[in-house]
Protein backbone atom coordinates (compact mmCIF):
# COMPACT_ATOMS: atom_id res chain seq x y z
CA UNK A 1 0.00 0.00 0.00
CA UNK A 2 1.37 3.40 -0.92
CA UNK A 3 2.49 5.60 1.93
CA UNK A 4 2.16 9.38 2.09
CA UNK A 5 3.92 11.62 4.51
CA UNK A 6 1.84 14.54 5.76
CA UNK A 7 3.71 17.03 7.91
CA UNK A 8 1.46 18.49 10.57
CA UNK A 9 2.64 21.68 12.18
CA UNK A 10 4.39 23.71 13.39
CA UNK A 11 1.62 26.19 12.62
CA UNK A 12 -1.73 24.49 12.48
CA UNK A 13 -5.13 25.90 13.42
CA UNK A 14 -5.75 23.16 15.95
CA UNK A 15 -2.40 23.19 17.71
CA UNK A 16 -2.13 25.53 20.66
CA UNK A 17 1.65 25.43 20.49
CA UNK A 18 4.14 24.59 17.76
CA UNK A 19 4.78 20.91 17.35
CA UNK A 20 5.63 19.02 14.21
CA UNK A 21 4.41 15.52 13.60
CA UNK A 22 5.43 13.93 10.34
CA UNK A 23 2.54 11.54 9.84
CA UNK A 24 3.15 8.54 7.64
CA UNK A 25 -0.20 7.55 6.21
CA UNK A 26 -1.53 4.51 4.45
CA UNK A 27 -4.83 5.66 3.01
CA UNK A 28 -6.32 7.44 6.09
CA UNK A 29 -4.60 5.46 8.79
CA UNK A 30 -1.52 6.80 10.50
CA UNK A 31 1.18 4.19 10.44
CA UNK A 32 4.02 6.14 11.99
CA UNK A 33 4.59 9.56 13.50
CA UNK A 34 7.93 11.28 13.88
CA UNK A 35 7.86 14.20 16.31
CA UNK A 36 9.98 17.30 16.13
CA UNK A 37 9.89 20.04 18.72
CA UNK A 38 12.28 22.92 19.24
CA UNK A 39 10.32 25.85 17.82
CA UNK A 40 9.98 27.59 21.14
CA UNK A 41 13.22 26.48 22.74
CA UNK A 42 14.45 29.63 24.41
CA UNK A 43 17.21 28.13 26.50
CA UNK A 44 15.73 29.54 29.68
CA UNK A 45 17.77 27.15 31.76
CA UNK A 46 20.93 28.86 30.56
CA UNK A 47 19.74 32.10 32.12
CA UNK A 48 20.84 30.85 35.54
CA UNK A 49 24.28 32.00 34.53
CA UNK A 50 23.26 35.61 34.28
CA UNK A 51 20.12 36.17 36.32
CA UNK A 52 20.56 36.16 40.08
CA UNK A 53 18.63 33.64 42.09
CA UNK A 54 16.45 36.33 43.68
CA UNK A 55 15.15 37.36 40.29
CA UNK A 56 15.16 34.00 38.58
CA UNK A 57 11.64 33.43 39.84
CA UNK A 58 10.42 35.95 37.28
CA UNK A 59 12.10 34.00 34.49
CA UNK A 60 10.66 30.72 35.72
CA UNK A 61 7.11 31.95 35.80
CA UNK A 62 7.46 33.04 32.19
CA UNK A 63 8.27 29.54 30.99
CA UNK A 64 4.61 29.16 30.13
CA UNK A 65 1.52 31.30 30.34
CA UNK A 66 -0.92 28.63 31.39
CA UNK A 67 1.13 26.91 34.08
CA UNK A 68 2.78 30.15 35.14
CA UNK A 69 1.82 30.20 38.81
CA UNK A 70 2.88 26.64 39.53
CA UNK A 71 6.28 27.24 37.98
CA UNK A 72 6.80 30.26 40.16
CA UNK A 73 5.58 28.36 43.20
CA UNK A 74 7.77 25.36 42.44
CA UNK A 75 10.85 27.52 42.16
CA UNK A 76 10.09 29.37 45.38
CA UNK A 77 9.36 26.18 47.28
CA UNK A 78 12.51 24.44 46.02
CA UNK A 79 14.69 27.44 46.93
CA UNK A 80 13.08 27.59 50.35
CA UNK A 81 14.00 23.96 50.87
CA UNK A 82 17.60 24.62 49.87
CA UNK A 83 17.89 27.69 52.07
CA UNK A 84 16.01 26.00 54.93
CA UNK A 85 13.44 28.77 55.15
CA UNK A 86 10.15 28.14 56.90
CA UNK A 87 7.40 30.13 55.21
CA UNK A 88 4.48 31.37 57.29
CA UNK A 89 1.47 29.10 57.14
CA UNK A 90 -0.75 31.76 55.63
CA UNK A 91 1.58 32.05 52.65
CA UNK A 92 1.33 28.31 52.02
CA UNK A 93 -2.45 28.42 52.16
CA UNK A 94 -2.57 31.36 49.76
CA UNK A 95 -0.28 29.51 47.39
CA UNK A 96 -2.55 26.46 47.53
CA UNK A 97 -5.60 28.55 46.72
CA UNK A 98 -3.92 30.24 43.78
CA UNK A 99 -2.60 26.88 42.59
CA UNK A 100 -6.05 25.32 42.57
CA UNK A 101 -7.49 28.34 40.77
CA UNK A 102 -4.67 27.94 38.29
CA UNK A 103 -5.81 24.39 37.76
CA UNK A 104 -9.39 25.50 37.15
CA UNK A 105 -8.33 28.10 34.60
CA UNK A 106 -6.02 25.67 32.84
CA UNK A 107 -8.63 22.95 32.57
CA UNK A 108 -11.23 25.42 31.29
CA UNK A 109 -8.73 26.63 28.72
CA UNK A 110 -7.99 23.10 27.65
CA UNK A 111 -11.64 22.10 27.46
CA UNK A 112 -12.22 25.04 25.16
CA UNK A 113 -9.28 24.15 22.95
CA UNK A 114 -10.24 20.50 22.94
CA UNK A 115 -13.75 21.43 21.85
CA UNK A 116 -12.29 23.60 19.11
CA UNK A 117 -10.14 20.67 18.00
CA UNK A 118 -13.13 18.48 17.38
CA UNK A 119 -15.05 21.29 15.78
CA UNK A 120 -17.40 22.43 18.54
CA UNK A 121 -16.57 26.12 18.52
CA UNK A 122 -19.65 27.14 20.45
CA UNK A 123 -18.51 25.06 23.40
CA UNK A 124 -15.04 26.57 23.10
CA UNK A 125 -16.54 30.02 23.56
CA UNK A 126 -18.56 28.90 26.55
CA UNK A 127 -15.58 27.41 28.32
CA UNK A 128 -13.53 30.52 27.78
CA UNK A 129 -16.33 32.77 28.90
CA UNK A 130 -16.53 30.78 32.13
CA UNK A 131 -12.77 31.11 32.45
CA UNK A 132 -13.01 34.92 32.40
CA UNK A 133 -14.42 34.84 35.92
CA UNK A 134 -11.29 33.07 37.15
CA UNK A 135 -9.00 35.46 35.31
CA UNK A 136 -10.82 38.39 36.90
CA UNK A 137 -10.18 36.88 40.33
CA UNK A 138 -6.51 36.59 39.45
CA UNK A 139 -6.36 40.18 38.34
CA UNK A 140 -8.05 41.39 41.48
CA UNK A 141 -5.84 39.42 43.82
CA UNK A 142 -2.45 39.35 42.11
CA UNK A 143 -2.53 42.21 39.64
CA UNK A 144 -2.15 40.13 36.51
CA UNK A 145 -4.38 37.82 34.51
CA UNK A 146 -1.77 35.36 33.34
CA UNK A 147 1.58 36.19 34.92
CA UNK A 148 1.03 36.76 38.61
CA UNK A 149 4.50 37.63 39.95
CA UNK A 150 3.18 36.90 43.40
CA UNK A 151 5.63 34.23 44.58
CA UNK A 152 8.92 35.08 46.16
CA UNK A 153 11.47 33.07 48.05
CA UNK A 154 10.18 33.28 51.60
CA UNK A 155 6.48 33.67 50.94
CA UNK A 156 4.08 35.58 48.77
CA UNK A 157 3.96 39.25 47.89
CA UNK A 158 0.27 39.93 48.29
CA UNK A 159 -2.32 38.91 50.81
CA UNK A 160 -5.96 38.10 50.31
CA UNK A 161 -8.32 39.37 52.99
CA UNK A 162 -10.64 36.85 54.63
CA UNK A 163 -13.66 38.63 53.19
CA UNK A 164 -12.07 38.49 49.78
CA UNK A 165 -11.49 34.76 50.17
CA UNK A 166 -15.11 34.20 51.10
CA UNK A 167 -16.19 36.18 48.03
CA UNK A 168 -13.85 34.09 45.88
CA UNK A 169 -15.37 30.88 47.18
CA UNK A 170 -18.83 32.24 46.35
CA UNK A 171 -17.81 33.27 42.85
CA UNK A 172 -16.22 29.91 42.20
CA UNK A 173 -19.22 28.01 43.46
CA UNK A 174 -21.46 30.03 41.17
CA UNK A 175 -19.02 29.32 38.37
CA UNK A 176 -19.21 25.64 39.16
CA UNK A 177 -22.98 25.67 39.14
CA UNK A 178 -23.03 27.57 35.84
CA UNK A 179 -20.44 25.26 34.38
CA UNK A 180 -22.44 22.17 35.30
CA UNK A 181 -24.48 22.55 32.15
CA UNK A 182 -21.39 22.71 29.95
CA UNK A 183 -19.94 19.77 31.86
CA UNK A 184 -23.06 17.79 31.12
CA UNK A 185 -22.63 18.61 27.45
CA UNK A 186 -19.07 17.30 27.47
CA UNK A 187 -20.13 14.10 29.11
CA UNK A 188 -23.35 13.31 27.26
CA UNK A 189 -23.50 15.04 23.89
CA UNK A 190 -23.80 12.39 21.18
CA UNK A 191 -21.61 14.26 18.68
CA UNK A 192 -18.77 14.56 21.20
CA UNK A 193 -19.17 10.94 22.17
CA UNK A 194 -19.05 10.01 18.50
CA UNK A 195 -15.74 11.86 18.07
CA UNK A 196 -14.04 10.89 21.28
CA UNK A 197 -15.28 7.59 22.67
CA UNK A 198 -12.98 4.74 21.84
CA UNK A 199 -10.39 7.03 20.25
CA UNK A 200 -6.82 6.93 21.45
CA UNK A 201 -7.29 4.22 24.01
CA UNK A 202 -4.40 3.98 26.46
CA UNK A 203 -4.80 0.86 28.51
CA UNK A 204 -3.58 0.72 32.08
CA UNK A 205 -0.57 -1.41 31.17
CA UNK A 206 0.36 0.93 28.32
CA UNK A 207 0.05 3.93 30.59
CA UNK A 208 2.48 2.25 33.00
CA UNK A 209 4.83 1.36 30.17
CA UNK A 210 5.09 4.90 28.85
CA UNK A 211 5.17 6.47 32.34
CA UNK A 212 2.22 8.76 31.71
CA UNK A 213 1.48 11.38 34.36
CA UNK A 214 -1.46 13.53 35.32
CA UNK A 215 -4.93 13.21 33.76
CA UNK A 216 -3.45 10.92 31.06
CA UNK A 217 -2.67 8.35 33.71
CA UNK A 218 -5.74 9.01 35.83
CA UNK A 219 -8.04 8.44 32.85
CA UNK A 220 -6.50 5.01 32.41
CA UNK A 221 -7.21 4.06 35.97
CA UNK A 222 -3.82 4.72 37.57
CA UNK A 223 -4.15 6.48 40.89
CA UNK A 224 -1.27 8.88 40.33
CA UNK A 225 -1.38 12.38 41.73
CA UNK A 226 1.44 14.29 43.40
CA UNK A 227 -1.08 15.88 45.74
CA UNK A 228 -1.45 12.51 47.42
CA UNK A 229 2.05 12.86 48.86
CA UNK A 230 0.52 15.37 51.24
CA UNK A 231 3.08 18.11 50.76
CA UNK A 232 2.19 21.81 50.61
CA UNK A 233 -0.77 21.43 52.96
CA UNK A 234 -2.66 18.93 50.81
CA UNK A 235 -2.58 16.54 53.75
CA UNK A 236 -4.94 18.93 55.55
CA UNK A 237 -7.59 18.60 52.86
CA UNK A 238 -9.87 15.73 51.97
CA UNK A 239 -8.85 14.79 48.53
CA UNK A 240 -9.30 11.76 46.32
CA UNK A 241 -8.07 11.90 42.71
CA UNK A 242 -10.61 11.63 39.92
CA UNK A 243 -10.18 8.32 38.13
CA UNK A 244 -11.68 6.89 34.99
CA UNK A 245 -10.98 3.48 33.55
CA UNK A 246 -11.81 3.74 29.85
CA UNK A 247 -8.50 5.37 28.89
CA UNK A 248 -9.90 6.96 25.74
CA UNK A 249 -10.12 10.64 24.80
CA UNK A 250 -13.56 10.94 26.31
CA UNK A 251 -12.31 9.63 29.64
CA UNK A 252 -9.55 12.25 29.65
CA UNK A 253 -12.11 14.98 28.98
CA UNK A 254 -14.30 13.70 31.79
CA UNK A 255 -11.35 13.60 34.22
CA UNK A 256 -10.54 17.22 33.54
CA UNK A 257 -14.17 18.31 33.78
CA UNK A 258 -14.49 16.63 37.17
CA UNK A 259 -11.21 18.05 38.38
CA UNK A 260 -12.65 21.53 37.95
CA UNK A 261 -15.40 20.72 40.40
CA UNK A 262 -12.88 19.07 42.69
CA UNK A 263 -10.61 22.12 42.69
CA UNK A 264 -13.52 24.39 43.58
CA UNK A 265 -14.23 22.09 46.51
CA UNK A 266 -10.57 22.07 47.55
CA UNK A 267 -10.53 25.86 47.59
CA UNK A 268 -13.65 25.91 49.73
CA UNK A 269 -12.03 23.46 52.16
CA UNK A 270 -8.83 25.48 52.22
CA UNK A 271 -10.62 28.73 53.01
CA UNK A 272 -12.51 26.98 55.82
CA UNK A 273 -9.44 25.34 57.31
CA UNK A 274 -6.90 28.07 57.01
CA UNK A 275 -6.28 30.04 60.21
CA UNK A 276 -8.34 33.21 60.25
CA UNK A 277 -5.39 35.40 61.05
CA UNK A 278 -5.62 38.42 58.88
CA UNK A 279 -2.54 40.53 59.22
CA UNK A 280 -0.50 37.37 59.78
CA UNK A 281 2.89 37.52 58.07
CA UNK A 282 2.97 36.30 54.52
CA UNK A 283 6.70 36.26 54.00
CA UNK A 284 9.95 35.88 55.87
CA UNK A 285 13.15 37.72 55.15
CA UNK A 286 15.63 35.46 53.45
CA UNK A 287 19.30 36.02 54.08
CA UNK A 288 22.44 34.47 52.79
CA UNK A 289 23.27 32.57 49.65
CA UNK A 290 21.88 29.18 48.67
CA UNK A 291 24.01 26.06 48.76
CA UNK A 292 22.82 22.56 48.03
CA UNK A 293 20.47 20.81 45.70
CA UNK A 294 16.94 19.54 45.76
CA UNK A 295 14.23 17.83 43.77
CA UNK A 296 10.76 19.23 44.22
CA UNK A 297 7.50 17.81 42.87
CA UNK A 298 4.20 19.54 42.34
CA UNK A 299 0.97 18.61 40.62
CA UNK A 300 0.46 20.97 37.72
CA UNK A 301 -2.80 20.81 35.77
CA UNK A 302 -1.09 18.56 33.24
CA UNK A 303 0.53 16.22 35.68
CA UNK A 304 3.58 15.90 37.84
CA UNK A 305 6.27 18.53 37.43
CA UNK A 306 9.74 17.99 38.89
CA UNK A 307 12.11 20.86 39.64
CA UNK A 308 15.78 20.27 40.21
CA UNK A 309 17.84 23.14 41.55
CA UNK A 310 21.52 23.07 42.35
CA UNK A 311 23.13 26.00 44.08
CA UNK A 312 26.79 26.45 44.84
CA UNK A 313 26.93 29.28 47.33
CA UNK A 314 27.07 32.16 44.86
CA UNK A 315 24.24 34.41 43.84
CA UNK A 316 23.90 32.56 40.52
CA UNK A 317 22.43 29.09 40.57
CA UNK A 318 24.38 26.27 39.02
CA UNK A 319 21.51 24.36 37.51
CA UNK A 320 17.79 24.76 37.19
CA UNK A 321 15.72 22.08 35.54
CA UNK A 322 11.95 21.87 35.15
CA UNK A 323 10.73 18.49 33.90
CA UNK A 324 7.24 19.43 32.92
CA UNK A 325 4.41 16.93 32.61
CA UNK A 326 4.07 17.33 28.85
CA UNK A 327 7.68 16.16 28.53
CA UNK A 328 6.65 12.96 30.26
CA UNK A 329 3.45 12.59 28.23
CA UNK A 330 4.93 13.01 24.75
CA UNK A 331 5.90 9.31 24.49
CA UNK A 332 2.28 8.50 25.34
CA UNK A 333 1.06 10.82 22.59
CA UNK A 334 3.36 9.21 20.03
CA UNK A 335 2.18 5.78 21.10
CA UNK A 336 -1.45 6.82 20.68
CA UNK A 337 -1.07 8.55 17.32
CA UNK A 338 0.25 5.43 15.63
CA UNK A 339 -2.64 3.40 14.34
CA UNK A 340 -5.36 6.04 14.48
CA UNK A 341 -7.25 7.76 11.69
CA UNK A 342 -5.99 11.03 10.29
CA UNK A 343 -9.06 12.88 11.55
CA UNK A 344 -8.36 11.74 15.08
CA UNK A 345 -4.83 13.09 15.19
CA UNK A 346 -5.83 16.58 16.41
CA UNK A 347 -7.95 15.07 19.17
CA UNK A 348 -5.14 12.83 20.31
CA UNK A 349 -2.58 15.62 20.30
CA UNK A 350 -4.92 17.83 22.30
CA UNK A 351 -5.73 15.07 24.71
CA UNK A 352 -2.33 15.11 26.40
CA UNK A 353 -2.89 18.83 27.02
CA UNK A 354 0.30 19.74 25.24
CA UNK A 355 2.19 22.64 26.67
CA UNK A 356 5.12 22.70 24.32
CA UNK A 357 6.54 25.94 25.67
CA UNK A 358 6.88 24.21 29.05
CA UNK A 359 8.45 21.17 27.41
CA UNK A 360 11.07 23.10 25.59
CA UNK A 361 11.73 25.96 27.92
Amino acid sequence: MKRTVVPMGPQHPVLPEPLVLDLVLEDEKVVDAIPTIGYVHRGLEALVERVEYTEFGYVVERICGICSFMHGMGYAVAMEKIMAVEVPERASWLRLIWAEMSRIHSHLLWLGLGADAFGFENLFMHCWRTREAVLDIFEKTTGGRIIFSVNKIGGVRRDMADTELAAIVDTLQQLGAGFAETARIFETDPSIRHRLAGVGVLSREDAHAVDAVGPMARASGIRLDTRLTGTHLYDRLEFEPVLETAGDCLARVVVRVREIGQSIDLIRQAVERMPKAEGAPIEVKVRGLPTGETFERLEQPRGEVIYYIKANGTKYLERFRARTPTFANIPAMIRLVKGCDLADVPNIIMTIDPCISCTER
Binding site: Y58, N122, T141, G143, E181
Partner: protein, 146 residues
Protein backbone atom coordinates in the same frame (compact mmCIF):
# COMPACT_ATOMS: atom_id res chain seq x y z
CA UNK B 1 -29.78 10.24 13.66
CA UNK B 2 -30.00 11.59 17.19
CA UNK B 3 -33.14 13.40 18.21
CA UNK B 4 -32.08 17.06 17.90
CA UNK B 5 -34.14 18.08 20.89
CA UNK B 6 -32.25 15.71 23.13
CA UNK B 7 -28.95 17.30 22.20
CA UNK B 8 -27.87 19.14 25.36
CA UNK B 9 -26.47 22.13 23.52
CA UNK B 10 -29.72 23.06 21.78
CA UNK B 11 -31.23 24.75 24.82
CA UNK B 12 -28.07 26.74 25.40
CA UNK B 13 -27.86 27.80 21.77
CA UNK B 14 -31.45 29.00 21.70
CA UNK B 15 -30.85 31.04 24.82
CA UNK B 16 -27.73 32.53 23.28
CA UNK B 17 -29.73 33.67 20.27
CA UNK B 18 -31.90 35.92 22.40
CA UNK B 19 -29.45 37.09 25.06
CA UNK B 20 -26.97 39.92 24.75
CA UNK B 21 -23.39 39.28 23.64
CA UNK B 22 -20.86 38.07 26.18
CA UNK B 23 -18.13 40.19 24.66
CA UNK B 24 -17.57 43.89 24.97
CA UNK B 25 -17.24 46.25 22.02
CA UNK B 26 -13.72 47.28 22.90
CA UNK B 27 -12.35 50.00 22.52
CA UNK B 28 -15.79 51.56 22.57
CA UNK B 29 -16.58 49.95 25.92
CA UNK B 30 -13.63 49.39 28.20
CA UNK B 31 -13.71 47.23 31.26
CA UNK B 32 -12.85 49.15 34.42
CA UNK B 33 -9.61 47.95 35.94
CA UNK B 34 -9.27 46.54 39.40
CA UNK B 35 -7.48 48.38 42.16
CA UNK B 36 -4.45 46.14 42.31
CA UNK B 37 -3.84 45.60 38.60
CA UNK B 38 -0.22 45.94 37.63
CA UNK B 39 0.33 48.26 34.71
CA UNK B 40 2.83 50.94 33.81
CA UNK B 41 5.34 52.36 36.19
CA UNK B 42 4.82 56.03 36.90
CA UNK B 43 7.57 57.98 38.49
CA UNK B 44 7.60 61.12 40.58
CA UNK B 45 11.02 62.65 40.26
CA UNK B 46 10.51 65.22 43.02
CA UNK B 47 10.44 62.64 45.82
CA UNK B 48 13.28 60.48 44.52
CA UNK B 49 16.59 60.46 46.39
CA UNK B 50 18.44 58.50 43.69
CA UNK B 51 19.52 55.74 46.05
CA UNK B 52 19.58 53.22 43.20
CA UNK B 53 17.93 50.41 45.16
CA UNK B 54 15.25 49.86 42.54
CA UNK B 55 17.83 49.89 39.76
CA UNK B 56 19.77 47.07 41.40
CA UNK B 57 16.70 44.95 42.08
CA UNK B 58 14.93 45.32 38.75
CA UNK B 59 14.89 41.83 37.18
CA UNK B 60 15.18 43.12 33.63
CA UNK B 61 17.48 46.09 34.29
CA UNK B 62 14.83 48.45 32.97
CA UNK B 63 15.71 51.30 35.31
CA UNK B 64 18.71 53.57 35.41
CA UNK B 65 19.56 56.41 37.70
CA UNK B 66 22.31 58.87 38.19
CA UNK B 67 22.84 60.52 41.56
CA UNK B 68 25.24 63.18 40.31
CA UNK B 69 22.95 64.24 37.50
CA UNK B 70 19.81 63.73 39.61
CA UNK B 71 18.12 61.88 36.79
CA UNK B 72 16.25 58.66 36.49
CA UNK B 73 15.17 56.63 33.48
CA UNK B 74 12.65 53.90 32.81
CA UNK B 75 12.78 51.78 29.69
CA UNK B 76 9.14 50.80 29.34
CA UNK B 77 9.87 48.19 26.69
CA UNK B 78 11.93 46.21 29.18
CA UNK B 79 9.60 46.59 32.11
CA UNK B 80 7.73 43.40 33.02
CA UNK B 81 5.42 45.18 35.49
CA UNK B 82 6.47 42.92 38.36
CA UNK B 83 6.15 45.72 40.88
CA UNK B 84 9.38 45.02 42.79
CA UNK B 85 10.52 48.63 42.41
CA UNK B 86 7.18 49.92 43.66
CA UNK B 87 7.36 47.68 46.73
CA UNK B 88 10.97 48.60 47.48
CA UNK B 89 10.96 52.34 47.17
CA UNK B 90 11.27 53.95 50.59
CA UNK B 91 10.12 57.31 49.30
CA UNK B 92 7.11 56.01 47.35
CA UNK B 93 8.36 57.67 44.18
CA UNK B 94 7.19 54.83 41.97
CA UNK B 95 3.67 53.62 41.57
CA UNK B 96 1.68 51.47 39.20
CA UNK B 97 -0.84 53.12 36.99
CA UNK B 98 -3.26 51.77 34.45
CA UNK B 99 -2.26 54.19 31.74
CA UNK B 100 -1.24 52.52 28.53
CA UNK B 101 2.55 52.45 28.55
CA UNK B 102 4.26 55.00 26.37
CA UNK B 103 6.45 52.41 24.77
CA UNK B 104 8.72 53.89 22.20
CA UNK B 105 11.61 52.57 20.16
CA UNK B 106 14.57 54.90 20.05
CA UNK B 107 15.58 56.35 16.71
CA UNK B 108 18.79 54.41 16.27
CA UNK B 109 17.34 50.97 17.02
CA UNK B 110 18.18 48.29 14.45
CA UNK B 111 16.79 44.74 14.20
CA UNK B 112 18.62 42.57 16.70
CA UNK B 113 19.40 45.51 18.94
CA UNK B 114 19.26 44.10 22.47
CA UNK B 115 17.99 47.37 23.94
CA UNK B 116 15.68 48.98 21.43
CA UNK B 117 13.52 50.66 24.02
CA UNK B 118 13.55 54.36 24.43
CA UNK B 119 14.67 55.43 27.86
CA UNK B 120 12.31 57.90 29.36
CA UNK B 121 14.54 60.23 31.38
CA UNK B 122 13.21 62.24 34.27
CA UNK B 123 15.26 65.16 35.46
CA UNK B 124 14.95 66.56 38.93
CA UNK B 125 15.53 70.21 39.61
CA UNK B 126 19.28 70.39 40.13
CA UNK B 127 20.17 70.93 43.78
CA UNK B 128 22.29 74.07 43.30
CA UNK B 129 22.63 74.94 39.62
CA UNK B 130 24.06 71.55 38.61
CA UNK B 131 24.31 70.25 35.01
CA UNK B 132 21.23 68.99 33.10
CA UNK B 133 20.82 65.22 32.75
CA UNK B 134 21.62 63.05 29.72
CA UNK B 135 19.14 61.72 27.16
CA UNK B 136 15.97 63.31 25.85
CA UNK B 137 13.02 63.59 28.21
CA UNK B 138 9.97 61.73 26.85
CA UNK B 139 6.54 63.26 26.75
CA UNK B 140 4.53 64.39 29.69
CA UNK B 141 6.26 63.38 32.84
CA UNK B 142 9.72 64.94 32.87
CA UNK B 143 10.20 67.89 35.17
CA UNK B 144 11.83 70.90 33.54
CA UNK B 145 15.61 70.99 33.65
CA UNK B 146 17.27 74.34 33.98
Amino acid sequence: MANPFSLPMVGRSLRNLVSRPATRRYPGEARPHFAGTRGTIEFDVDTCVFCGLCVRRCPTVALACSREDRSFAIEQLRCIACGVCVDLCNKDSLHMSMETPRVQIHAGAAPGDPRPGHQEWHQAQPAAGGPPGPGDPAGGVAAAAT
